[in-house]
Amino acid sequence: MAKNHVLLIHGIGQHAKGWSARWQSCVRENAQLFAPYDDDPAGFDADVAFAEITYDHVFEQGFRQRWQNLAGALDDASVPAPVRTVLSELSQSPDARLPAFVWTHSLDFILWYSFAQARQAVIAEVGLQIAEALRKAQREEADVHILAHSLGTSVAHDTLLCLAASPDTQNAFDPKHGGYRWASYVSVANVSRVMGALQSPSDDLDADAFRPHSSRVQGKDLVATFVNVRHQLDPFTFPRRFKPEWPSPPYWPIEVDRFDEPGLIHDLETQFDNPLAARTCLRLFTGRKGLGSKAEMDVAWRRYDQKYGRSGGDLFASMRRLLEPDADRLLGPGEFARFIVTYAKEMLA
C-alpha cells in the first residue's frame, strides 16, 4: 500500500545523515497513543514514510569550512596581531575565544539572515531535494506533507515561494499553474517573520512577497492545510511572532505551554508531544482524519502532563525585556546578536 510522505526540514545546528531519528521516534510514539497504531506500532510505518531535507552542509561547506581552511592556511604566516586574532577565530583554533555553538548554531542564523548568497544557495539546495522527494511521492501516488522546525520554517517558506514563482519550476509547484499543492505544512517554532528576507532571493518576486503573514504559503494556496505549533515560552518566537489572522481551517494555530527543562522548550519534541499538536499532525500525515477518540486523548493528556510537569513562570523575562516596547519591530543585526547572547546566558545560568 502506498504511504503518505512527510518531508522533515531541520533547524539550526549540524545535521548528519539520519539526523531526524529523534523526530521520527517522537512522531511514532505519539501515533501509538491512537488506534489503529496502539495495537500495531508497525502499522504507522506502513502508512507514513519520512524523508530528510538537509541544508546545513551549504553553511558548512560553502562558508564555515572554507573560512576555516583559508585561515588555517595562514597559520605560519607572519601577520599583525589583530589579523592573527581574526584568523585564529576563523580557523577555530584551540586559543579561539568564541564558543563552539557560535560556529555550529548561531552562525546558521546569521548566514541565513544577513548573507544573501547563503540564503539563495540554501533555497537552491532545498528546492532540489524537495523536488526529488515530490517525484518519488508522485510515482507512489502519495500525498506529501512538510514538517519544519525553527530556522527550517523560514527555509521552507522561502523555498516554496521561490519554486512556485520561477518560470522553470512553477508548472510543478504552483497549483495555479497546474502544479502540486502540498497536502499540509506544519511549522513548529516558526521564525519565518524574524528571519524574513531583507532582500528578495528571487528574480520573480519582490521582497514584499516574502512577508509570511501575507505570502502564498497559506492554506488553500501553495499548501492545502497550514498548522503552526508554538510554545508560549519559546524565546525564539518572542520577536516578530508568527501570528497571522487567517481563517481556521485551513489554518490551525496550536499553542503549547508545558515543559520539562527550559533548554528543551524550543525543541520539536517538546511541542509535538502536546496531544492537540500530535493529533492534528498525525491526522494529516496518516490520512486518518478522525484519529484520536476522547478516551485516547485522555490517555495522551495524562502522558503529556506526566512528561512535562512545568508551565508558566517568568522564563526568559530578560529576553522579553530586550524586545520592549515593540516585539514586532524589525531587529537590527546588533539587537539580534544581543538577543542570541542573552539566550545563551540564560541557558548557562
Binding site: Q32, D39, P41, N69, L90, L128, S202, P249, K289, Q306
Partner: protein, 381 residues
C-alpha cells in the same frame, strides 16, 4: 504489541477510572442543512467519535477499500504524465456512469450528489474541449481545480467559547460542495463530536470519484523537467560557493550585497577584497637561481568572472601586495591573475600568478608570485 511506556500510561489511565464518552451535541441547522453551502444535504442526527471510512480517510486507506477497487479497478486508463485531455474526460464520464448505475438517483441525497458530479464532468469537458487529444499536462490552466471542504463558523450557546463546526467534503469550480462530515470541538482538550452526511455507499462513491480525479491530475504534474533545471542550478551554486575562488566572511558579505544573483541564478561575478593568501615569490632577475621565498600575498581588490551554466571555471585579476620572508625584499605590489576550474571532478588546483614590483633594501625589480590552492591539489574541496 504495545510499547512498554504506552502500557504504563494506559494502566495509569485505567486506574483513574472509566472515560466517559463525549456528550451529545445538537448540530446547528445552519451547518446540518445549509442550502447555500451544501445544496440541501442534511447531516445525520447520529453522533460519532470517528465516522471512519470512507468519511474520514483519504489516500491509501481509501484506495485499498473494496468499494473503491470495485468502482475504479478496471477503468481503462493509464495514470501518468502522458494522459490526454480526452482520455481524462472520458474516464471521469465512465466513472460517473458507474456511480449512476448504482441507483442513487432514487434518494434525494443521491440525486443531489449526482447532479453535482454531472456538472463537474460537464464543465471539465467544456473547458478541455479545445485541447482535444493533447496532453492534460499542457492544459493546466483550463482544467477544473478540485477543492477540499468548506468551513462553517456557527456561534452557539454550548458554553465553549468560539465554537465552530467544520464541514469537510468535496467540490470544484463554482458548483456546490458535497459535504462528507461536520465536526466540532467541545472543550479545551480537543474532545470532538462528529456528524456524517451521506449514506456509506454513496459516500464511498463520492470519495472515490474525487480521489481518482485527483490522482489523474497529479500524475500529470511535470516534476521531472523541474528536477533537471533544479539539479543544474544547485550544481552551479555548489561550484561557485564550495569550489570557486574561496572567500573570507567579509568577502561573502560584500559579494552578497554587490553581486547580482538569485536562488535560481548563481553569481557570474565575484569581488576579491582584502584577501590574504600564502604563496611563493621569486625575483625575475634571479629566475635561474631557483631562489624561492615564502610570502604573504594580500589581494586588496579584485574581480573574477565565472563561466559556464554550471559556473565551471573562473578567471580574473586583483591588485596585490606581498611581504616575503626575505625582509630585504621589502614590500611588493602588482597585479595577480586568478584562474581555476570549479567542477567537482576536475583535480587541477586554482592558481594565482602575479607580477609584482618590489622596492627592497638592496635592489628593486620585478617578482613573480604564485599562490596555489593546496587543499584542492591534495584532494580537498
Amino acid at each position: 504489541m504495545k510499547a512498554p511506556w504506552l502500557a504504563a500510561v494506559l494502566a495509569a489511565a485505567c486506574a483513574s477510572g472509566p472515560v466517559s464518552p463525549p456528550p451529545f451535541v445538537e448540530i446547528p441547522p445552519a451547518v446540518a442543512q445549509d442550502p447555500a453551502s451544501f445544496a440541501g444535504f442534511v447531516a445525520k442526527n447520529e453522533q460519532a467519535e470517528d465516522p471512519g471510512s470512507p468519511w474520514t480517510v483519504s489516500g491509501p486507506h481509501l484506495r485499498t477499500a473494496p468499494q473503491y477497487v470495485e468502482l475504479v479497478g478496471d477503468l481503462d486508463v493509464h495514470i501518468g504524465p502522458t494522459l490526454t485531455c480526452s482520455d481524462y474526460v472520458a474516464t471521469l464520464q465512465d466513472l460517473l456512469e458507474r456511480i449512476e448505475a448504482k441507483g442513487f438517483a432514487a434518494r434525494p441525497e443521491g440525486k443531489r450528489a449526482l447532479t453535482i458530479l454531472r456538472a463537474l464532468v460537464g464543465e471539465e469537458r467544456t473547458r478541455l474541449a479545445v485541447h482535444g487529444d493533447g496532453p492534460l499536462a499542457g492544459a493546466r490552466n483550463d482544467r477544473v481545480e478540485l477543492l477540499p471542504g468548506k468551513a462553517v463558523d456557527v456561534a452557539d450557546d454550548l458554553g465553549f467559547p468560539n465554537q465552530s463546526w467544520v464541514v469537510t467534503g468535496f467540490g470544484g469550480s463554482d458548483v456546490p460542495r458535497i459535504p462528507m462530515v461536520a465536526k466540532t470541538t467541545i472543550d479545551a482538550r480537543g474532545t470532538e463530536v462528529w456528524r456524517r452526511f451521506l449514506d456509506k455507499d454513496l459516500a464511498f462513491c463520492v470519495a472515490t470519484f474525487f480521489d481518482f480525479a485527483d490522482r489523474l491530475q497529479l500524475a500529470t504534474v511535470d516534476v521531472d523537467s523541474a528536477i533537471v533545471r533544479l539539479g543544474q542550478n544547485a550544481a552551479a551554486w555548489q561550484n561557485y560557493l564550495q569550489r570557486g575562488y574561496p572567500q573570507y566572511p567579509w568577502e561573502n558579505f560584500a559579494n552578497g550585497l554587490l553581486v547580482s544573483s538569485a536562488w535560481d541564478r548563481a553569481p557570474r561575478h565575484q569581488f576579491v577584497l582584502l584577501h590574504p593568501e600564502p604563496g611563493i615569490v621569486f625575483d625575475v632577475d634571479r629566475a635561474d637561481s631557483a631562489d624561492l621565498d615564502l610570502a604573504l600575498l594580500v589581494h586588496a581588490l579584485g574581480f573574477l568572472y565565472y563561466g559556464g551554466d554550471d559556473r565551471g571555471w573562473f578567471l580574473g585579476a586583483s591588485a596585490t601586495g606581498a611581504l616575503s620572508e626575505d625582509e630585504g625584499d621589502g614590500f611588493s605590489y602588482g597585479l595577480t591573475l586568478h584562474a581555476g576550474f570549479t567542477n567537482g571532478d576536475n583535480p587541477l588546483p586554482h592558481v594565482s600568478v602575479g607580477l609584482l614590483w618590489h622596492e627592497g633594501v638592496d635592489d628593486d625589480g620585478f617578482q613573480v608570485s604564485i599562490g596555489v590552492d593546496v587543499l584542492r591539489l591534495f584532494g580537498g574541496k
